[in-house]
Symmetry: C2
Subunit: 353 residues, 2 copies
């Protein structure tokens, strides 16, 4: 077959002399992941929804605004303190819908099983998905199962896609972020990544660190129900808090500034990060998010967040500078110095979600 018949005649835009092959770091959520997404995904597929660089697409079927999202889950190990690949696959896609400001309604579930997977593991994972879906008030309405040969997969990979309905008139996307906005953070960071890594590597810390994996739809719907003018929401998954901030600053061409001393990190997570050489700002979470909204509404938003079990420690993390440098994030360190926060350029923790 000719290249033309396969690729519609478009030349490959990736500098293939630099990265002729996929690296693990291309999946790490950092700079290289963004490069693949921009050079391949956006370039090939081009659509307004993709350009918005959000966690899901907001699409219009005649008369209805819907959110649509997808994520594949390849976390290793399949079971970890505080969750498993099944609950994660539901939480992740429900949270992506929530980050679009949508009420989650329906999920699909696609399984890629590796020959030899214990059938009981498959069952436990399916039940865990069901329990998480029930808790979220969403229904798993369609699915698919494929099997690949032993050594061509890794136990089970799950894809979930989600549909939610948008019941307000806000455009909750990076492009809505405005100079002067407050940046709120819903709670402590770094637990999911450390929980998965310690399960994977058999690390024992003084106390077992549990993943923060949780459903964010309830707390987000609380914010929306209060009529707050939310500009953007983002959950802090692959690449952690730092990557989420940089993504939004870049996509909105604004300058976000935060205070390092305000970032809540549990002592055991901080200790584990120090031992492992990780910066908790870059470690994945699965139940934490940031919210951008007008400074004048920050206190009301914090009140609402703190009334929810998942937002008790919610705080004002920083703000969008009125006259900053477009597309950057700066952080005032604990000793007062100002430094630029960037995405990871490579891979910190592969297969964290």
């Amino acid at each position: 077959m000719s290249e033309d018949s396969q690729g519609g005649g478009l030349a490959c835009p990736v500098p293939i002399t630099q990265y002729p092959q996929v690296l693990l770091a291309h999946g790490g959520g950092g700079r290289l992941t963004h490069q693949v997404i921009e050079k391949i995904f956006l370039e090939a597929f081009r659509s307004g929804e993709l350009e918005s660089r959000h966690d899901g697409a907001v699409v219009e079927v005649p008369g209805k605004r819907l959110a649509f999202t997808t994520d594949s889950y390849v976390v290793r190990p399949l079971f970890f303190p505080g969750g498993d690949i099944g609950s994660l696959a539901v939480h992740g896609s429900v949270n992506d819908l929530a980050m679009c400001g949508a009420r989650p309604l329906f999920l699909s579930a696609g399984f890629i099983l590796e020959e030899g997977l214990p059938m009981e593991s498959h069952w436990r994972i399916a039940c865990s998905m069901k329990a998480a879906a029930d808790a979220a008030g969403v229904r798993i309405v369609t699915g698919d199962t494929k099997v690949v040969e032993r050594g061509k997969g890794d136990g089970v990979f799950i894809n979930t896609a989600g549909i939610g309905v948008i019941e307000h008139g806000l455009a909750i996307v990076p492009a809505s972020v405005r100079p002067g906005d407050a940046v709120l953070l819903s709670g402590d960071v770094g637990r999911h990544g450390i929980a998965v890594l310690s399960a994977r590597e058999g690390l024992a810390f003084e106390s077992e660190i549990q993943s923060d994996s949780a459903l964010l739809s309830g707390i987000v719907l609380d914010l929306l129900a209060a009529g707050l003018e939310i500009h953007c929401l983002r959950d802090l998954t692959r690449g952690g808090l730092a990557t989420a901030l940089v993504e939004i600053a870049e996509a909105s061409r604004t300058h976000v500034q935060i205070d390092e001393s305000r970032i809540p990190v549990r002592e055991d997570v901080q200790g584990a990060c120090e031992i492992l050489g990780f910066d908790p700002m870059y470690v994945a979470n699965e139940g934490r998010f940031i919210a951008f909204l007008p400074q004048s509404q920050a206190d009301r938003a914090l009140d609402i967040l703190r009334r929810h079990p998942l937002g008790r420690e919610a705080l004002l993390l920083g703000s969008v500078l009125p006259q900053g440098e477009p597309g950057i994030v700066t952080m005032r360190s604990k000793i007062g110095a100002l430094r630029i926060v960037d995405m990871l350029s490579g891979e910190q923790l592969p297969r964290i979600c």
Copy 2:
């Protein structure tokens, strides 16, 4: 963690003494695939939409009837005569929406890449998806990319989920099939499976057999536009024509009877099947479907099908017997004998889609 915390306290319903582990045949589309779906998927997730045993779910968001579907694609090799994993991933999910009688609107794309995949293959596949999506008039609006270590995947796996809108009042599901219905077949069978297998195994037949992979949304929308009372549609993917017929007979508790002599199989496909020991009735297609509708509308439907390039050879394959045995398919063979058609019990061609 206790079983309870993982599995919501449900006991595993699979006879794990018989199949304690996932077998390749659990992905083959035959009896074992159905067992996994029934014992794990339906048991764990229970929902009316899943119970309908259709290619996608029809869901209601206030005021709108939508179809929602998902499929993961693990075809090997990635490129084969007549298509590649990218075009297949679009055709497959668009076709599932079409089988729900929906107009396809949006797709998601989730990639699981194996470390080491040539970046150019990724690009070619993405471009192929884009070309297929354009041809279908659907937009790829959201996506995700994960990377797994070398040896933990197989080049690339793709999941696509799709949303379509239903613009008529019909319930196009197996449960709508009625005694007396005509069963129409849109064209010849067996090409996709043989094309993929010959590419995989390096088999050379006299002529290159091309996959029939194609978009069925146009031809189905033609049928719907004519106001025909379509009862059920099913594309003939994994497990082929035989499995699709048995699935519908079982789900509708009807007796379907077909004529073997009417099944169109191209001479080169027939020859390849004989060499390989396959029955073309069980070989996967990606651009063929069957339709159930009242006998009185069969001629009009055939006229419409035959006007479309993908339906030129459309024909009346059989009927739903007025007084048959519920849940079975029988076939009158070329020599006049009547035999029961069953699903495959095991695996014929792994990783065909």
